[in-house]
């Protein structure tokens, strides 16, 4: 049987089963450009479906990539009918929580004064992993909305993730939460009725009910994240030693979480030997180095879709530039035929 693997993401772009696509890698390798490109190509290839691109990186770049402002509410990209973007802002989410707490504790002057100063947001905002937790909450909200048929329904959600460590923490959350909820379930089972009586009156909390609902959602997410037909992770890297090493470690971590990884995008390649017109000594030397690691990538990842993408002369910003650049994810980049695109990108003001 033919086990050759295409050097493009056509299979992913035209996939009708995937619900969650993560795009991640080391910092500065082109994750945002790649995630925007994948989203655009999927939206163009499947115009009847709705796609959502979420940035979970606290240092958001989606607004810069598309040249328009996105916020915590999903908003359609100008010029695309079926692609929306959202930037999860942990500080804004925490501020909302703080404001809600102030409103609920209106009678309690001491606590209200404390909260009005943004104390809750300050305290919780400094907790390590809070960004990942808030992103995860967004995921759970989407699942809940889809099940209840509320709001905009998205067929596929693409995540522009934060650099590697943050993403791995995010992906660990379902397992961590599941264990925590098991423990809380034991405790609440013993003390739940007593706690409910203490918090009675208008705030009659059904602790067990809420925890069961949360646990059920977390289990669903765990199952979906480990289903290769529903979830996949696209690794983005550059052809350098540290990036290659970190990509390998990332792939191994993801496999240990039972997450499917079958695609790698290698960015910022010079293809200097195919560009006789613009071929300085530095580019030649650098391309030689890139080739060495590219060969190793081909050897290590022969069963992966390895997509090689060029380093362009200009920034890949704005919808038009992203469209031009992203089509090579679908068809593959041929440095001999397609090298004109490197110099054709429109300058963004």
């Amino acid at each position: 049987m033919d086990y050759s693997v295409e050097s493009n993401l056509h299979e992913l772009i035209t996939s009708t089963t995937h619900k969650w696509i993560f795009v991640g890698g080391k910092g500065g390798v082109g994750k945002t450009t790649s995630s925007c490109s994948i989203s655009i190509q999927m939206a163009l290839a499947q115009p009847t479906k709705q796609f959502l691109l979420i940035s979970t990186d606290p240092a958001h770049n989606l607004s810069d990539a598309f040249g328009e402002k996105f916020g915590k509410e999903a908003r359609k990209v100008t010029g695309m009918n079926n692609l929306s973007c959202m930037e999860i802002d942990p500080s804004a989410a925490l501020k909302d929580m703080n404001d809600m707490a102030v409103a609920q504790n209106g009678g309690n002057e001491g606590l209200g004064d404390l909260l009005q100063g943004g104390a809750l947001a300050d305290i919780t905002g400094s907790i390590p992993g809070i960004d990942e937790a808030l992103s995860f909450m967004e995921v759970m909200k989407h699942i809940k909305r889809q099940e209840e048929g509320e709001g905009e329904k998205y067929d596929t959600v693409i995540f522009d993730t934060a650099p590697t460590g943050h993403t791995l923490r995010f992906l660990q959350l379902p397992q961590t939460l599941s264990q925590l909820l098991d423990k809380f379930g034991e405790i609440a089972g013993k003390f739940g009725p007593m706690l409910n009586s203490f918090t009675g009156g208008s705030q009659n909390m059904d602790i067990m009910g809420k925890m069961n609902e949360l646990k059920s959602n977390v289990e669903k997410i765990k199952q979906q994240f480990s289903d290769p037909d529903l979830t996949t992770f696209v690794c983005v890297c550059i052809s350098e030693f540290l990036s290659l090493y970190e990509t390998e470690r990332l792939i191994q971590e993801l496999m240990s979480y039972d997450m499917d990884v079958n695609s790698i995008i290698v960015n910022q390649l010079l293809f200097a030997e195919d560009d006789s017109e613009h071929n300085c000594r530095r580019c030649q030397s650098r391309w030689k180095m890139q080739k060495k690691y590219l060969d190793q990538i081909d050897e290590l990842y022969e069963d992966f879709h390895v997509v090689t993408m060029p380093l362009c002369a200009g920034e890949i910003r704005g919808l038009n530039n992203l469209k031009k650049f992203s089509k090579f994810l679908d068809t593959g980049y041929d440095p001999k035929k397609d090298n004109k695109v490197i110099y054709e990108l429109e300058e963004q003001k």
Binding site: F241, Q252, M255, V261
Partner: protein
């Protein structure tokens, strides 16, 4: 290619990838990457191989550590069941002493009871328990252990206790209170004058005599109750009181009162005594009313 073969191809490729990363393959891949540079300090330990080789409680996973700590905390909460101490039961009966003090006070004995260690009074005990910290049961031997109670034994014990209570009430009411109240209400009638017990028949001494009688009978009752509890190895109050069961659910430290359960147990015991006294008093008042009514007719 057909849809089925595409799916099959994806599945096979996935298996091939997993095979290459499994069984030490992941570590060798990292070694291959790091080996191409000299003096590389990067780790070649694979997350896949380290997770599969180390046993579950590896101590490296902070989540495992935290769940372990949670397990220990739960076990501690279970074990911190307040010992079933009957603070008035293990030592001399404080209720008897208290009523003795009350009786003395009624008889005009103004001498304060000697608050020695042999006769601890309720207030001294309360003060002791307030001064104690979270471990008041140290040094006080629990008469009753913490073994789970057999339901049949508990039921038999409850039947015995209820029988004891019923007999006590019957004896008190019909062999003392009723005739005493009858004699009191008929003072002056020749047929019922008893010259040798003028003190007893004197109406102004009713409360003193009644209280003294109550002290004696309640003491006897509690002695009998204690012997029954000892024989069955059951503390009646701890086993049957819903209030104590509720209080035992309160985790230690939640309410800023040390030995909360012990205090509430003691309060319930005193209330039990007081309620019996008040019930008998009410019966006496009722009888007085009935006898007065019939005499008036």
């Amino acid at each position: 290619m057909s849809e089925i073969s595409e799916t099959e191809k994806r599945r096979l490729l996935r298996e091939r990838r997993q095979q290459k990363f499994g069984k030490g393959g992941a570590t060798s891949r990292l070694a291959k990457i790091t080996g191409q540079t000299e003096n590389s300090f990067l780790s070649t330990e694979s997350p896949i191989d380290s997770k599969s080789s180390t046993p579950e409680p590896s101590g490296r996973n902070s989540n495992e550590d935290s769940t372990k700590q949670m397990d220990e905390l739960l076990a501690q909460i279970h074990q911190q069941q307040p010992k079933k101490t009957d603070q008035g039961g293990a030592a001399k009966n404080p209720e008897l002493d208290l009523f003795a003090q009350l009786a003395k006070m009624q008889q005009g004995d103004a001498s304060a009871p000697t608050a020695t260690s042999e006769t601890p009074d309720i207030f001294a005990q309360l003060l002791k328990s307030v001064q104690m910290d979270q471990q008041p049961q140290q040094g006080i031997e629990s008469v009753f252990g913490n073994q789970p109670i057999d339901a049949a034994v508990l039921e038999a014990h409850n039947v015995a206790v209820n029988k004891l209570k019923a007999y006590t009430i019957v004896v008190k009411w019909f062999f003392f209170i009723l005739p005493y109240v009858y004699y009191i209400s008929h003072t002056g009638r020749e047929a019922f004058q008893l010259t040798t017990v003028d003190f007893v028949m004197n109406r102004s001494n009713f409360f003193t005599i009644f209280t003294s009688f109550e002290v004696v009978t309640l003491s006897v009752y509690y002695q009998l109750l204690m012997s029954a509890e000892k024989s069955h190895n059951i503390n009646t109050l701890n086993s049957n009181s819903k209030i104590l069961k509720l209080v035992s659910m309160v985790p230690p430290g939640l309410v800023p009162i040390p030995n909360l359960r012990g205090k509430i147990s003691q309060a319930l015991q005193y209330w039990d005594v007081l309620s019996m006294y008040l019930t008998d008093m009410a019966f006496a008042i009722l009888l007085t009313g009935i006898f007065q009514y019939y005499h008036a007719m």
